[in-house]
């Protein structure tokens, strides 16, 4: 082989060319929507993005371990050349274990850029892995969960990332092992890690046919999405695609409470919005409270604006209260925040009284650590972007925690003129909240009057880009911010802690009462247990149950409450808009616009598409 290769170097290795051609064809077939000029697909391991104990060979496809392999400190990983493009929809690669080496401590998985390479995938934040020695899955944690069988020499392990629902599953020798991870962030790189001498693995990014029938899996998802779109009720308006699209966008905006945007959209498209504007704002306000971690106030507001709602939904109420408890631990709930002296937020007083009016809403947009634009917020990883120097002046003093980089999203604002927000955002001032939104909404309206809906989304994303810079500048510019200091229980305040303990008792009592009235509920029990477990650790943010404190966890509570207010079951209402969301959210900023257009293409292509088996790619262009 070596001789052959040397001989053919001048003319180009025909075998290599053939493999290259096959790779191109396979990738094109698997990921037809990916524009490789903008978002290249992973084709090999990166010689630059690896730990020194990793050696690469065979066109950077073979990985071998060359360290001492004494203990876990000698672990070493390598990432692929590129992150998985969101436009893949479903992405898959396989790794063959050529040799398990001494101990077979091999991890296969995913990690974000910047994650320490002196580790096995899965041990750190934004890193995920399946390990061969014990068959456990590691989800950003040093402790694994029992997941699948062990694997060793000769086995082929596959890793599939589903970017539609942000999950991941593995395969062993072509057999699917079931979901390993959920709520994955975007922009992950295929990653392998080795730890003992002699370990060798080969990657297959599409150079060879896969052992697992990934195309069959993809076809199922295509059918699922087609079905979802086909089932979307369009009523009498068959063929009126523009109207359908408009109402879809509009109902999406209304559902999530993007009031001003919805209004602007309605004006621009000359459509009507069903729900009363003030009602949308109410919902939005409540949502914001939840997403800001101020669940207590959200409960009060809900009880006042929608009397009876929570009384009829004891499960929801319980879920909210549990969340409130978690936020107390976090130090974000107003019941404990008012004790705090450290936080600048402490000056805000939210009376939580019935006098709250929508105009002077109790919301401070800067607190929206996960904000209404929820899916984007899960982009925790992207905070490591290098773009921060571009907007050094923008800063937010109120970002609640470093784990929520996109912490000041005003999703409702959609400003095309991002700099406008600058003076407000630095102010961290109560006054800004709603009026500011309105101002921005005005800007936005101007922008939208002569632009397509795709532009709107573009606006959002542009804005988001700035947000990420915010977070960085926050680190640089505000040394006194709490993000630089270790976080403390209830913000470190004694009175707040006592209040929290008392609240915990009340919660326990509520749980017992619900148990008496409705019988045992294992979900409740689990929620309560998890929440209370936080107190068992010195540093709740870095404990096995610490994930609860992640502002991202507010989203599900928020959407449950929102759906309840709208009187819908969680899933059914937004199924299409959720899909819409999920398709658009996990994108890199550059290709968002294009991908959205592709998506709309898909939708509008629908009237030619009565059949489930219609090939997917033909829809895209």
């Amino acid at each position: 082989m070596a001789e052959l290769g040397a001989g053919s170097l001048q003319v180009g290795d025909p075998a290599l060319n053939y493999q290259e051609r096959e790779l191109n064809e396979r990738l094109k077939r698997l990921y037809p929507a990916v524009n490789e000029e903008e978002t290249p697909l992973p084709r090999s391991w990166s010689p630059k993005d690896k730990y020194s104990y990793i050696g690469l060979s065979q066109n950077n496809l073979r990985v071998h371990y060359k360290g001492h392999g004494k203990n876990h400190k000698d672990a070493a990983s390598v990432r692929a050349t590129h992150p998985i493009p969101a436009a893949c929809g479903i992405y898959y690669f396989e790794v063959k274990i050529v040799s398990k080496g001494r101990d077979g401590y091999m991890g296969i998985g995913l990690s974000a850029q910047g994650v320490n390479m002196n580790r096995l995938p899965g041990w750190d934040k934004h890193s995920y892995g399946y390990h061969g020695d014990d068959g456990h899955s590691f989800c950003s944690s040093g402790t694994g969960q029992p997941y699948g069988p062990t694997f060793t020499t000769g086995d082929v392990i596959g890793c599939c990332v589903n970017l539609i629902n942000n999950t991941c599953f593995y395969t062993k020798n072509g057999h699917s092992l079931g979901v390993a991870f959920t709520d994955l962030p975007p922009n992950l790189y295929p990653t392998v890690g080795l730890q003992t001498p002699g370990e060798i693995v080969d990657a297959n990014f599409g150079q060879q046919p896969f052992v697992f029938d990934i195309e069959d899996y993809m076809s199922e998802w295509r059918a699922k999405i087609h079905g979802m779109i086909a089932r979307f009720p369009i009523g009498e308006r068959l063929g009126e695609w523009q109207a359908v699209l408009q109402s879809m966008v509009s109902s999406y905006l209304v559902h999530h409470g993007y009031c001003a945007t919805a209004m602007a959209f309605a004006r621009a498209t000359e459509t009507k919005i069903q729900e009363d504007q003030s009602s949308i704002k109410n919902r939005q306000r409540i949502q914001k409270l939840v997403l800001a971690g101020r669940v207590g106030e959200a409960i009060d507001a809900t009880q006042q604006l929608y009397p009876g709602l929570l009384e009829h939904n004891p499960n929801l109420l319980f879920m909210l209260k549990c969340r409130q408890f978690v936020e107390m631990v976090n130090g974000t709930d107003s019941e404990v925040r008012c004790f705090s002296t450290r936080s600048p937020k402490s000056q805000d007083s939210y009376p939580g009284s019935p006098s709250l009016s929508p105009r002077h809403g109790a919301t401070n947009p800067h607190l929206h650590s996960t904000a209404t634009d929820s899916p984007t917020c899960s982009n925790g990883v992207t905070s490591k972007n290098k773009s921060h120097s571009k907007y050094p002046g923008i800063s937010s003093s109120s970002s609640s925690s470093p784990s929520s980089p996109s912490s000041i999203v005003y999703s409702e604002s959609n400003s095309t003129d991002s700099t406008k927000s600058q003076p407000h955002s630095s102010a961290s001032n109560q006054e800004t909240s709603d009026s500011e939104m309105e101002i921005e909404a005005e800007h936005y309206t101007n922008g939208v009057a002569d632009s397509s809906s795709a532009r709107i989304m573009n606006g959002t994303y542009k804005h988001e880009e700035i947000l990420q810079t915010d977070n960085h500048s926050l680190g640089n510019g505000l040394p006194a911010d709490e993000s630089d200091q270790p976080r403390q229980l209830c913000g470190g305040n004694q009175a707040a802690t006592e209040r929290m303990i008392q609240f915990g008792r009340e919660l326990q009592a509520l749980s017992e009462q619900l148990c008496r009235e409705y019988g045992k509920n294992p979900t409740h029990k689990k929620m309560l247990q998890d929440a209370f477990s936080l107190l068992a650790y010195a540093d709740p943010w870095n404990c096995p149950v610490g994930q609860q404190l992640d502002p991202m966890q507010r989203e599900s509570v928020c959407s449950a409450l929102n759906s309840a207010i709208l009187g819908k079951g969680c899933e059914c209402s937004g199924s299409l808009s959720h899909f819409f969301l999920s398709l658009s959210h996990a994108r890199t900023h550059t290709n968002t616009q294009m991908e959205l257009l592709q998506f709309i293409h898909q939708l509008t292509g629908l009237n030619n598409l009565p059949d489930f088996n219609y090939p997917f790619q033909s829809l895209i262009f």
Binding site: G148, H175, G178, D216, S219, E220, A223, Y518, K520
Partner: protein, 691 residues
């Protein structure tokens, strides 16, 4: 609504309804054929979707008249067709409607109608026949009574998509027995139906697919034929594989997976074939997922259980696929507490399927854990698994109980589980309850395992009177129950103490014991001999039992040695003799029986090595010198203080007698035997003479 009306009014409303119905029937008797036709058409419009109207018309005798008009050659084709349509509509109603129609001999009339040339009329008849035949109240045999029917139906398959759909649907519902399968097979069902898998109509495809699944089920001949069938140049198995693609409708995936499963189980496809391992198995696992409908999950789990039952490799793959073991735990969560509060309809739906789900899950667990210890461990470690089995054993539904006990039986093959979780959960308690035979068979098999010597459950089971239960099983009419009963007794007697052995003999009674020795079932006989052998171990036990039952036992042994039995039976019997020869006093029963000694001698020269070994073992025991042989003697360990001298003298006498009878010559010959074991044993025996 009606019940709120006052009595006289209610009657008047009813009579009014009857009056209009009566009017429809009356018009069928109009002398003007045109008016009759109009009457039938009006009737058709009146009954659509109206079950009450349908019942009324049937009560008022519309059916015989409609059938008369349908069969009358003088009727216009249009009228005959409309009659068939109305009858089809009536059949769509309740089960009672179907019964009435069948009682009016609608089936032969409609089958007769199929001989007509007019396609529309044929389709109307077929549609009605379809509706009648798919009802559970219709005896399927009616399709097969006239032998000309099936070939005619086959010939009609080419007429139209509708005929294809209806006929294949009739076939798939009426093919219930191997005879039915063979009738259809012999009339070319495979060749005729295979092309329909490529039909542009989804309904036709599906019905054709269902036909293949019922044809292939447990039928080797059909399955073997199916693997070689080509459809449009493609092998049928490949067509089925395509139908399992994940973007196909679930119903199609599931049915195609069933076809391949049945073909595999019938031996036509190997279990290591890619289409089974990589396609059928994962497809069936997907059918068990939470996303599927409850019905699909039941069917998926049952089919998967059936597919992998005999193959450990498939069990291993399934056990790692998509968290199947954990996925199945969800089958026990219906009706969920949420569904109870949230939604009555959902609760009703869940309740209906709850039993089916549970039994399907148990079946699948049973299959998964049939062979592999690791999988069994994984199953027993699933949340609340043992509790679920225990409560499943006591459920009212026989199906669930049977599945639960099957599951338990499968897990009971694990030594580790027997020692741990089985004991912790006292699973044996529900096993001892009375139950229908089918459940008892599995329950007693499981008890067999629980009574194994090392099982910690053995003691509590004994104390709760299991001996009586097992003895009563040995008197059952079912051979399976007799085997299990005696088998469990055999396990129980293994290295048991005297008390238990006495209890077994007492409870069983010698009469029953000897009845079992002449049982027609070879398995029963084998296990009974095994029981005897276990009873006759350790010297004091041997002597005690032989002193009370020696005569009968020797008789039984003689009978078996003289009878027509397999090698295993005879070997086991010779082993019993060997054990008897190990007793102090029991020996004499053999030594004084020259006939028996002759038999032993002849078995020493038997062509089968196993029998030679057993016979030599027996002789070896007979001539054993007590003084130096004590430790080596096969079973003797304790209670041997009866004084050496007289016994030693006894051994000398026995040796002399056997020498006289020519045993030494045979032993000598056997020391030259090619089988090393036999050779060794003969040498050891010879040493006794030298000592």
């Amino acid at each position: 609504m009606a019940c709120m009306l006052e009595a006289p009014l209610r009657i008047s409303v009813l009579s009014e309804v009857t009056a209009t119905s009566r009017h429809y029937v009356d018009r069928l008797f109009d002398p003007d054929p045109q008016k009759v036709l109009q009457g039938v058409i009006d009737m058709k419009n009146a009954v659509i979707g109206n079950n009450k109207q349908k019942a009324n018309l049937i009560v008022l005798g519309a059916v015989p008249r409609l059938l008369y008009l349908l069969q009358q050659p003088t009727s216009s084709l249009e009228l005959r067709t409309e009659c068939a349509v109305v009858l089809g509509s009536l059949a769509m109603g309740t089960e009672n409607n179907i019964k009435s129609l069948v009682d009016c001999h609608i089936i032969p009339a409609l089958l007769q109608g199929l001989l007509c040339q007019d396609l529309k009329f044929i389709e109307a008849c077929l549609r009605c026949l379809r509706t009648v035949f798919i009802s559970p109240v219709t005896p399927v045999q009616l399709l097969f009574t006239d032998p000309t029917v099936i070939p005619h139906l086959m010939s009609l398959l080419s007429r139209s998509q509708r005929t294809q759909e209806y006929i294949t649907q009739i076939f798939s519902h009426c093919c219930k027995t191997p005879e039915h399968q063979m009738i259809l097979y012999n009339h070319g069902a495979i060749q005729n139906i295979a092309p329909l898998l490529m039909s542009p109509s989804y309904k036709v495809q599906m019905q054709a697919l269902k036909c293949f699944s019922v044809l292939a089920y447990e039928n080797t001949q059909v399955s073997m034929t199916l693997v070689n069938v080509l459809v449009d140049g493609e092998l049928l198995t490949q067509v089925f594989v395509k139908m399992m693609q994940r973007d196909r409708p679930i119903e199609m995936q599931l049915t195609a997976a069933k076809c391949l499963t049945y073909m595999c189980r019938a031996g036509a496809i190997r279990t290591d074939d890619t289409c089974i391992i990589m396609k059928t198995l994962p497809c069936l696992v997907r059918m068990c997922s939470k996303e599927r409908l409850l019905e699909e999950r039941v069917e998926g789990a049952e089919t998967l259980a059936y597919l992998m039952e005999p193959d450990v490799e498939l069990q291993r793959i399934a056990s790692i696929t998509d968290h199947l073991v954990a996925m199945l735990a969800d089958y026990f969560k219906y009706p969920s507490s949420v569904s109870a509060i949230a939604d009555i309809k959902r609760l009703d739906h869940d309740l209906k399927h709850a039993h089916e789900l549970r039994q399907a899950a148990f079946k699948l667990y049973a299959s998964l854990g049939a062979n592999d210890e690791d999988i069994r461990k994984k199953i027993t470690e699933t949340e609340n698994m043992m509790d679920r089995i225990v409560s499943g054993l006591s459920e009212s539904s026989i199906k669930v109980r049977l599945a639960a006990v099957r599951c338990l039986h499968s897990l009971s093959r694990s030594v580790q589980q027997l020692r741990t979780s089985f004991h912790d959960h006292a699973v044996w308690k529900p096993l001892m309850k009375n139950a229908p035979d089918e459940v008892l068979v599995m329950a007693s098999s499981t008890l067999c395992n629980l009574l194994l010597e090392f099982s910690p459950s053995k003691e509590p089971i004994l104390e709760s009177g299991v001996v009586e239960l097992l003895c009563s099983l040995t008197q059952s009419d079912s051979p399976a129950l007799r085997v299990n009963g005696i088998w469990a007794l055999m396990n129980m007697a293994f290295q048991a103490d005297q008390k238990v052995k006495v209890e077994i003999v007492r409870a069983l009674g010698t009469e029953q014991l000897f009845r079992l020795l002449s049982d027609p079932d070879a398995n029963v006989l084998m296990k009974t001999l095994g029981l005897l052998r276990n009873l006759l171990s350790t010297r004091p036990h041997i002597d005690q039992i032989m002193s009370s039952h020696g005569k009968q036992i020797m008789q039984a042994v003689t009978l078996i040695l003289e009878g027509e039995h397999g090698i295993e039976v005879k070997e086991q019997t010779l082993c019993i003799l060997g054990n008897i020869a190990d007793g102090h006093t029991a020996k004499e029963l053999i030594m004084t029986n020259d006939d028996m000694l002759q038999k032993i001698k002849s078995y020493m020269g038997h062509s089968n090595v196993k029998l030679q070994l057993a016979a030599t073992f027996c002789v070896s025991n007979l001539i054993w010198n007590e003084e130096d042989g004590e430790e080596d003697a096969a079973t003797a360990h304790k209670g041997d203080d009866t004084g050496g001298n007289p016994v030693a003298r006894g051994s000398q006498e026995r040796q002399d007698k056997l020498r006289e009878m020519g045993f030494v010559d045979i032993l000598h010959k056997l020391t030259q035997a090619s089988d090393p074991n036999l050779c060794d044993r003969a040498k050891t025996a010879m040493q006794q003479y030298l000592a």
